[in-house]
Amino acid sequence: MSDVNLTAEKFRHVGKDLAKSQEVIRPSLTYWQDAWRRLKKNKVAIASLILLTFIVIMSFAGPYILPYEFDHQDFTVINKTAAEAPGHWFGTDALGRDIFVRVWKGTQVSLAIAVIAVLINVSIGIIYGGISGYVGGTIDNVMMRTVDVLFSIPQMLWVIMLIVVIGPGFDTIVIALALTGWGGMSRLVRGQVLQLREMEFVLAAKTLGASGRRVILRHLIPNSLGPIIINLTFAIPGAIFTEAFLSYIGLGLPVPQASLGTLANDGANLLLIHPYQLMYPSIVIVVLMLGFNLLGDGLRDALDPRLRQ
């Protein structure tokens, strides 16, 4: 290393710029922007999201695409496939009603039932679980044991009992699903709250004199939202499936109302003669189930704070 000649003159003291050392170069992203950025990388989840968006749009627009009412009967075209009855894209059913219109109307009803029921579930779950976890002690114990007892009875039994007592209908199914589904959500929220309330930022807020209300609204709930949303995307297909099952065993919506379950039930009766009548509602159910589950998977990865880079 004889050719390297280092002398003090060759060096210059550049010092240290404190203001510069505090600079942050990375663009500012909120939690949700960051999650969206990660979700976009997941092709399966994005495909599911597009498919679900398409189904939701169709459930509202679909019934208006063809010039038929969902309960309009045309006795000249009974049990005809699309090829036999031009103008009816999915064919007609045993009462001469257009299946295309009925499938989308049914999707709309099924989605509405599922979304309303799950939103009520989540609200009850957040309030119940939040109180239980935040207050803690004996109250927590009593509240959680109550949940354990209530939800040790199979959900389907509850729902069937409630529907038999109140009588079938849109409202009844929503109420039945809402009353029987909040157990899991309240457990989830309680777990989150128990974990978060010992975190130092909650202690810091208390040190600053924050009220219990403020701690719950500003600190605990925003930080539990990720798991809650993931749970929600998994609860919606569950509710759709339960509704379909209830309609299938005859406890669903009264005629002439359509839901995915009643359509599948009607189609199943004629399965051996006219298989297309079961096919269309089944495809929508399958796509909805798969779409929500795959989207939920993607969201779980996107919202998991441990994956943040």
């Binding site: 500012s28 939690y31 975190m199 130092e200 930022f201 040190t207 600053l208 500003r218 930080n223």
Partner: protein, 323 residues
Amino acid sequence: MSNLEERKVLLEVKNMKKYFKVGHNAILKAVDDISFKIHEGETLGLVGESGCGKSTTGRTIIRLYDATGGEVIYDGMDVHTLNRTQLKDFTRNAQMIFQDPYASLNPRMTVGDIVGEGIDIHGLYKGIERQKRIYELLELVGLNKEHASRFPHEFSGGQRQRIGIARSLAIEPKFIVCDEPISALDVSIQAQVVNLLIELQQKLGLTYLFIAHDLSMVKHISDRIAVMYLGAIVELASSEDLYEEPLHPYTKALLSAVPIPDPTIEKERQRIILEGDVPSPINPPGGCKFQARCELCQDICREKRPELREVRPNHFVACHMVK
């Protein structure tokens, strides 16, 4: 500190106890009957090994925990008998800086909202005034006002700790409990943060209770130091006295573990190695807390708990053997 006696006592802890119930019959005595005073403008260092009750002491003083017994008197009022509105006023005077800069900032709030939380809770400023105050605070702790709209995860540990400091300063407290504010940071950043704390103390006339387990750092910042062992204070003296003449056998062992940045002296350094582990604070034995690991232990140590006595002027020790 010759003028120590003349200075006003800002905070006095009298026989404070904090017990936790663990299981059915077991009681964990995290803080067991401690008393000390903090004077206005002073920094009291609180040292001890992990699990000796340092953090519990800090948290009980500002009433994050309710004390099992004893009093905490701040400026003439007992903190543990305050009602809700009085407590809210008290929080304006006493704040805390937390240990873990990653857990102590809410990841869903912007830095501006984190720093401004105290301002919002106490309704100090609104609108543009609030914004200005937040910028002021960020600049006070060495950050830029551009940082206000960013989120905590975008900052390094040292920067986060500065944000935590800005948050506690937002409501202009007089007294701050620093709960190991530097132990989670890089050594190079530790000095920056400690110097910032010292600078703020001079600028704003703050009083600190500085909890730590890094002895050299504590010596640097503290006027007086209290050494804790198993929920009790074993020695309390000015930092010079404590380092020059440690009297309690535990303090001696603790100080013998501090490396000296001078190779010739360092070579001579004799470490006192303590036998055994810290006993469990659950249902501890009577008598002196240190009896199980003490070389000087006599019968009296097992029977009677030593009081904190003033052995030299302003140098307190809780040991039967020190004369």
